[in-house]
């Protein structure tokens, strides 16, 4: 469904990704782990046009989406691939409902009654229906991140990308966000998740990818990577996130 083919990325002289090959299949939950600065964000941002490869290709549903593609092709990517960021990035001057409904309204041209119905439904599923008229700064971090997930889901994407969705949260709020993500994974959503939450990876991850200094050093099932890693660097990293 999503594919990076020989992707190399340089910022100036700094090569951040080296010849990355990664395929994400329909219904898979791919978990990306790796040390800070290893290129995880840069990698995932290639999947929805926020970064362009210096060389190599990015494909979505077997069509090339990297390089200069038409506005229509870009639109197809944005409508089908949602992204949730570390810092939520809700629109602070919009209410929760406006945050959720704005893109469906202006991109998909849904009517107000359609988006109202949709946002109510999504909020109910997340137990946030009483927050529809609140502004983001009146919500906890965990609530904001769940609203950000809903905002992406409102576009009916086929793939959801998450870049460290819980790492800016207070510890007591991590679980509620992970719970929503697990629910989404179990509903069959294709997901790519940069996270160090091993519980999440163990429970719903189809595959864990270890990124190190811009290379995919190894990948495998959660069990293979967490308990039977082949590389010393992987083992070191895993033991670090396990015991800190």
């Amino acid at each position: 469904m999503l594919e990076l083919r020989h992707v190399t990325k340089k910022f100036g002289n700094n090569t951040v990704l080296h010849d990355i090959n990664l395929k994400v299949h329909n219904g898979e939950v791919v978990v990306i782990i790796g040390p800070s600065g290893s290129g995880k964000s840069t990698l995932i941002r290639h999947m929805n046009l926020l970064e362009q490869p210096t060389s190599g290709k990015v494909l979505f549903q077997d069509k090339i989406i990297s390089g200069s593609i038409s506005k229509k092709a870009q639109q197809r990517v944005h409508e089908n691939i949602g992204m949730v960021f570390q810092h939520f990035d809700l629109f602070p001057h919009f209410t929760v409902r406006q945050n959720i409904s704005y893109a469906p309204r202006v991109v998909k041209h849904l009517s107000k009654s359609q988006t109202d119905r949709q946002s109510t439904e999504l909020l109910k599923e997340m137990d946030l229906e009483n927050k529809a008229d609140a502004y983001p700064d009146q919500l906890s971090g965990g609530q904001q991140q769940r609203i950000a997930i809903i905002r992406s889901l409102a576009m009916n994407p086929k793939v959801m990308l998450f870049d460290e969705p819980t790492s800016a949260l207070d510890p007591e709020m991590v679980e509620e966000v992970l719970k929503s993500m697990k629910k989404l994974a179990k509903s069959g959503m294709t997901m790519v998740v940069v996270t160090h939450e091993m519980g999440f990876a163990q429970e719903v991850g189809s595959r864990v990818v270890f990124v190190d200094r811009g290379h995919i050093l190894e990948q495998g099932t959660p069990d293979e990577i967490f308990h039977h890693a082949k590389h010393e660097r992987t083992k070191n990293f895993i033991s670090k996130i396990l015991y800190t």
Partner: protein
């Protein structure tokens, strides 16, 4: 020696007319300057090197040449450019708009750049078209941050507008000059003029402070 203010009764209507003209000049030029400033800020930040260079050059020219020179350039150049004569008030508006637009562009640019880049990225990843990202996501947030600076620019426009009296626009300054010419009084009409400018600017300051407080409560 500063006691001869009997001219006021005769010239009061002229000063009041000047007051209205000054306010019109400042308000119209700040509104148009805002539109120009938005366009220039967007150009300067655009990916197109050409657009960015045009905006940079323009802003650099305005900020590094005296307003009075710019007023004369517009006064002489505008009719040549258009091929017909332009009324003085319009000339004054154009000059003040071109001038304040460059400063407002810099205000807006810093307001936009102070926002987290995640706002644009989140909006892009939802497929929101870029003009809507600018108009509905970025600018409303930027305006909240730059309102004080825009207020100062409005006050600046009130004061700077005094220069366009050289074109014969009947603003406060023009009224003062007229009185000077026809009564042989020196300082007194200028004192009246400065009092009128002072009153406008102090009232504007109050209104702006009120606005800011309101905005902060809304947030």
């Amino acid at each position: 020696m500063f006691s001869n203010y009997s001219f006021i009764t005769e010239y009061w209507p002229l000063f009041m007319h000047g007051l209205v003209t000054t306010i019109e000049l400042a308000v119209i030029s700040i509104v148009l300057g805002l539109l120009l400033g938005i366009a220039l800020a967007v150009m300067k930040m655009s990916k197109s090197n050409l657009l960015s260079l045009i905006a940079k050059t323009y802003i650099g020219f305005i900020r590094n040449t005296p307003l009075l020179v710019q007023i004369y350039i517009v006064y002489i150049g505008l009719p040549q450019l258009l091929g017909f004569s332009v009324n003085d008030f319009v000339t004054g508006i154009v000059a003040l708009t071109l001038y304040s637009g460059a400063y407002i562009a810099e205000i807006i640019r810093s307001g936009i750049q102070s926002l987290p880049v995640g706002q644009t990225e989140a909006a892009e990843s939802l497929g929101i078209p870029s003009y809507r990202i600018l108009l509905n996501i970025i600018l409303p947030q930027a305006f909240k941050n730059i309102l004080p600076a825009l207020g100062n620019q409005l006050i600046g426009n009130v004061k700077d507008s005094s220069l366009v009296s050289v074109l014969g626009i009947t603003d406060i300054m023009f009224a003062a000059q007229t009185v000077r010419g026809s009564t042989a009084l020196g300082l007194e009409p200028m004192i009246i003029a400065s009092a009128l400018y002072l009153v406008i600017c102090l009232i504007l300051n109050q209104i702006l402070a009120l606005f800011e407080r309101r905005m902060r409560h809304d947030a």
